[in-house]
């Protein structure tokens, strides 16, 4: 079992971050080319807690090294199930993801949280990410290799993810400021949602 952890602070309010989080993989993010599609599977509000629950399916295209390609049989698209919980009172976003494909080979459990920075709750948001990698086979040397490669690749995607999300945040704020000046309602995302594929 290998573990990847990272933490960073975004210089945006929790409201801005939690809103931009839904657009994380839109055309404004040119750093997430491995994400092929994002679909919402279900969405509901818990009447007791007011927590918004969303289940999404994310398709990723990953260049897999040749030694691993033999095992996965040439398939290059993998699917991830993501369940997220937004608590508007406590101001937390928690996202949990697991891989649906290749999980006979490797299980990945990722948890991401966004919460206001206690020192600057109005202007800064803390992002925390934690991922656990567990290769499933009995060949320990091969499993180690799979785990090492996955952690390394995950780290690369994670730092790209931060960069990409920064540009989504910037564009979201810009869009909001423009609107505030015009005094109109939110535009549709049509202009920004042209498929990048």
């Amino acid at each position: 079992m290998k573990v990847f952890e990272s933490k960073c602070t975004f210089n945006y309010s929790w409201e801005e971050v939690s809103q931009a989080n839904w657009r994380k993989y839109c055309a404004w993010n040119d750093k997430a080319s491995h994400v092929v599609s994002v679909d919402t599977l279900s969405r509901s509000i818990d009447p007791a807690t007011g927590i918004l629950r969303t289940e999404r399916l994310i398709a990723c295209k990953q260049s897999v090294p040749r030694w691993l390609m033999v095992v996965v049989g040439g398939a290059d698209v993998s699917y991830v199930r993501e369940t997220s919980y937004v608590d508007p009172v406590a101001k937390t976003v928690r996202m949990e993801s697991q891989n649906l494909t290749f999980n006979n080979l490797l299980s990945v459990f990722e948890t991401v949280t966004y919460r206001p920075d206690p020192a600057n709750p109005e202007t800064k948001t803390i992002f925390e990410q934690d991922a656990q990698f567990k290769a499933a086979g009995g060949f320990s040397r091969f499993c180690n290799k799979i785990e090492d490669w996955s952690v390394e690749r995950f780290g690369q995607n994670a730092s790209l993810g931060r960069e990409g999300f920064e540009s989504v945040l910037r564009m979201s704020r810009q869009a909001w400021n423009d609107l505030r000046e015009q005094g109109t309602s939110l535009p549709t995302m049509a202009a920004a949602s042209a498929p990048s594929a």
Binding site: S37, R43, L52, L100, T188
Partner: protein
């Protein structure tokens, strides 16, 4: 916002996503606790379109399996 698994579902997805983000920003973050009826209707159209792709690619089965194996909101706790 991003592409859909099934390209033909993209128009329905975009309509729903736009409706949702507007509700999320203007209502939910401001204390509203009920879902928007228009968005709900758009979601039904979108998920109806998506279902074909989920079934034909075998993803529905994978999802059912994953849902069975992980109690909701329990992923992190289960592992610790």
């Amino acid at each position: 916002m991003s592409a859909s698994l099934l390209p033909e579902c993209l128009p329905a997805k975009e309509k729903y996503d736009a409706c949702f983000i507007r509700w999320y920003t203007e209502k939910f973050l401001r204390g509203e606790r009920t879902e928007d009826e228009t968005c709900k209707k758009l979601f039904l159209e979108y998920s109806h379109c998506l279902k074909k792709a989920l079934d034909s690619k075998g993803i529905s089965k994978m999802l059912d399996e994953a849902r069975k194996n992980t109690e909701d909101g329990d992923l992190s706790r289960r592992e610790s």
